[in-house]
Symmetry: C2
Subunit: 373 residues, 2 copies
C-alpha cells in the first residue's frame, strides 16, 4: 500500500531535515539558541498530509502570535500596577485567559479546526506572562523566536506543498472510491460462499476472505479527519476551493450502512439455521444475477467518483436492478418458502437482505449523482 | 453527562496550575528560564484520564532521557573527531537515529504504546546534537531541564492520581456496560415502532428516537484508546493489574456486530416493501415476547459486567430464549409466509433477523461468562 511507502519516505525526510538544518547551521549562528525553535517547529509541525501540516502550522502561528501579544500586554499591565498587585494581576490574567481558551476548546466547531491553536495559545500566554521578564526584553525575544518559527514553518511548507505533496483530499477521494470496490467484492464473496457450500460443503476449504466491508464500517473517524485536513488544503489538481467534502462524508455514511447490511448477510452464512440444499439451489440463479448487478452498480458509482465523471445510474442501471428485484421476489414462490419451516425462513431472510441492498444502493446512486452536479 | 463537567473542571484545573506555579514562582527563582519547562510539561502532559497522563508523562520522560543521553554521546564523539568530520559525524548520527526512531514508530505495537516517546526522542536528540554546545555544558543544561520536567510531571501526577482522578478504566468499564443497555433500548424501540404502525400509521407521529446502536457501532476507536490508557493505570478500585482489557475489546466487537444487525432490522422499518397489516398482527405477540426477552438478557449481561457480578445467563436465560425462538419459527407457518409474495418475504426477513440476534446474544453471553471467571 502506498501509504506505508510514503510514511517511510517521510521518515527519511524528517531526519533529513535535522541534518540539513545542521549543515546550513553556520548561516543561522546569529540566532543562537533560538535556532532550536526552528528545528522544534519542523519536528512538531511536519505531518503526513499537506492539509495537516498547513492546519497545524497556521494554528501554531496564530496561537503563538495571539498568546504572545496578549501575554506582553498582561505583563506590561502588571508591571504598571507593581508590588503585590503585580502577582495578583498576573494570576488573574493567567486564570481568565486560560479558562477562556480551555472553554473555547469545548465548542465542537472550534475543537475540530482550532484545537491545536488553543493549546499553543495557552502555552505561549503562560510562558510569556510567568517568565516575568521586562516588557522590552520579552518583545525582543518574541521577535527572534517568531522569526525562527516562521523559518521552520516555511521549510515545512516548502517540502510539504512543493516537493511530492501528499494531499489529504486525494486520499479521501481515493478512499471513498475504493470503498465502493470493497463493498462490491464483499457482496460477490458472500454470494459465492453461500452457494459454493452446496457442492463442496464437506471439503471444509478455507473460507475466502472478503473483509473489505469491515474496514468500511470502521472508517468514520478516519474519513472525518481527512475531510478536516482537506478543508485546509489550497486549490490543487481537480479540487476547487469549496469542494463539497460534506457530500463525501454523507456518501461515506451511506456506505457504512450498506456495510452493516453485508454483516447481516454474512451472518446468514454462519447461522446455524441453514436452508436445505435443494431450496438453496432453486434461488441460486436469480440471487447471483442480482448480486452481480449490485456489485456492477457499485463499481460503476465508484469509478464515476474516482474519475469525477458524471454518471446517471438512476436512468441507466436502476430500472434494471428494480426489474431483477421483482423477478427475484416472484421466484420466491409460497411453495418454496413454505417447504420447510426453518429453511424457508433462512432463505427468505437472505433474499430479503439482498433486496434491502437494492434500496440502499439506490439512495447511494442519488447522492453520487448530486455530487456530480 | 459527567464527562463534560469533568472537562470543565479540568479547564479550571489547568489554568489554576499556571497561577499556582506563578505564585510559588519565587521558590524556583534559581531555575530561571528553565521554570518554563515545568509549566510546559504541565500544559503538554496534563490529560483528561489518569492513564493518559501517566502514559504521556512516562513516554516524555523516557524519550527525553534516552534522546538526551544518546545526543550527548554523539556530541562528544563528534567533538573528538573535530574539523570537517565534526559536521559529518553529526549529520550521520542525526540521520541514523532519526530514521531508526521514525521506523520504530511504524511498528504497530510500538506505535500503540510508545509513539509519543519516539517523537520526544527525535526532538530531544536533534536539539542536543544540533545545538553544538560543549559536552560539559550540555550535561549541566540537561540536568536542570530534567529536574524541572520531573517537577512538572510530579505536579501532574499528584493532581491527576490523588485529587479526583478520572480513570480511563472506569470509563471503559461503564461504557461497555452501558452499550448493553443502549442495544436493549434499540431493540425494544424497533419492535415498538414496527407494530405501532399497525394502529396509528396515518397519524405520522414523530418516530421515537432509539439511536443508541449508532454510537455503539462507531465506538471502536474510542474503546481502543481507552483500553490503551487503562493498561497504563496502576491497581485501583476493583481493577487488578492484569485486568483482561482485551476481553472488553472482544465484547465490544461482538456488540458492534449486534448493532449492525439492528441497523438491518431498522432497515425493515424504512423499507418500501411492507407486509400487510393482518400478517404483521399475526406475528406480533411472539415477536414482542422474543424482543423483550432479548432486551432483558442484554440488560442482565450489562448489569453483571457493571457490578462485576458473576452471572450464568447460559444456564438461566438461554434455554428460555431458545425455546421462544422455536415457538416463533413454528408460528411462521407456510400459509403465513406464502400469503402474499412481497409481504411474506418482508415479514420473514424481519423474523429471521430477530432469530439471528438470539445467536449473537448467545455468543455474547459466553464471552461475558468467561470474563466473570
Amino acid at each position: 500500500f502506498h501509504l506505508k511507502a510514503d510514511s517511510q519516505y517521510q521518515g527519511w525526510n524528517r531526519s533529513g531535515f535535522g541534518s540539513l538544518l545542521y549543515l546550513v547551521g553556520p548561516l543561522y549562528k546569529e540566532f543562537g539558541e533560538n535556532a532550536m525553535w526552528a528545528i522544534m517547529t519542523v519536528v512538531v509541525v511536519f505531518e503526513f498530509f499537506a492539509g495537516a501540516t498547513l492546519s497545524k502550522g497556521l494554528n501554531r502561528g496564530m496561537g503563538t502570535i495571539l498568546g504572545g501579544g496578549l501575554g506582553c500586554l498582561a505583563a506590561i499591565l502588571s508591571q504598571k500596577v507593581g508590588g503585590i498587585g503585580n502577582s495578583i494581576t498576573i494570576g488573574i490574567s493567567v486564570f481568565v485567559f486560560g479558562a477562556a481558551a480551555t472553554y473555547s476548546r469545548l465548542v465542537p466547531s472550534i475543537k475540530r479546526r482550532y484545537d491545536y491553536g488553543a493549546v499553543i495559545f495557552i502555552l505561549t500566554f503562560n510562558l510569556v506572562v510567568v517568565s516575568g521578564l521586562r516588557a522590552g526584553k520579552v518583545i525582543e525575544l518574541a521577535c527572534e523566536r517568531l522569526s525562527t518559527i516562521g523559518m521552520g514553518f516555511t521549510i515545512c511548507l516548502f517540502t510539504n506543498l512543493l516537493i511530492c505533496p501528499v494531499w489529504a483530499s486525494d486520499e479521501l477521494h481515493c478512499s471513498i472510491a475504493s470503498k465502493f470496490e470493497n463493498l462490491a467484492c464483499s457482496i460477490e464473496g458472500c454470494l459465492e460462499e453461500y452457494f459454493i457450500m452446496i457442492n463442496e460443503k464437506k471439503e471444509n476449504q478455507p473460507i475466502t476472505s472478503f473483509d473489505g466491508y469491515k474496514s468500511v464500517l470502521h472508517s468514520k473517524s478516519k474519513d472525518e479527519s481527512l475531510a478536516n485536513f482537506a478543508r485546509w488544503e489550497p486549490w490543487h489538481g481537480k479540487f476547487g476551493h469549496n469542494y463539497p467534502w460534506d457530500k463525501y462524508l454523507q456518501i461515506g455514511e451511506l456506505l457504512r450502512e450498506l456495510a452493516a447490511t453485508i454483516i447481516s448477510l454474512k451472518g446468514c452464512l454462519q447461522s446455524p439455521q441453514q436452508p436445505p440444499l435443494l431450496l438453496r439451489q432453486s434461488v441460486k440463479e436469480p440471487c447471483e444475477v442480482m448480486a452481480s448487478l449490485l456489485a456492477c452498480t457499485l463499481r460503476e458509482l465508484g469509478e464515476s467518483i474516482m474519475n469525477m465523471r458524471r454518471c446517471q445510474p438512476r436512468v441507466l442501471i436502476m430500472p434494471k436492478l428494480q426489474s431483477k428485484r421483482l423477478e427475484l421476489s416472484i421466484s420466491m414462490t409460497p411453495s418454496k418458502l413454505g417447504s420447510q419451516e426453518n429453511g424457508g425462513l433462512a432463505i427468505a431472510g437472505f433474499v430479503f437482505l439482498l433486496m434491502e441492498m437494492v434500496d440502499k444502493v439506490e439512495v447511494l446512486a442519488k447522492e453520487v449523482e448530486e455530487l456530480g452536479d
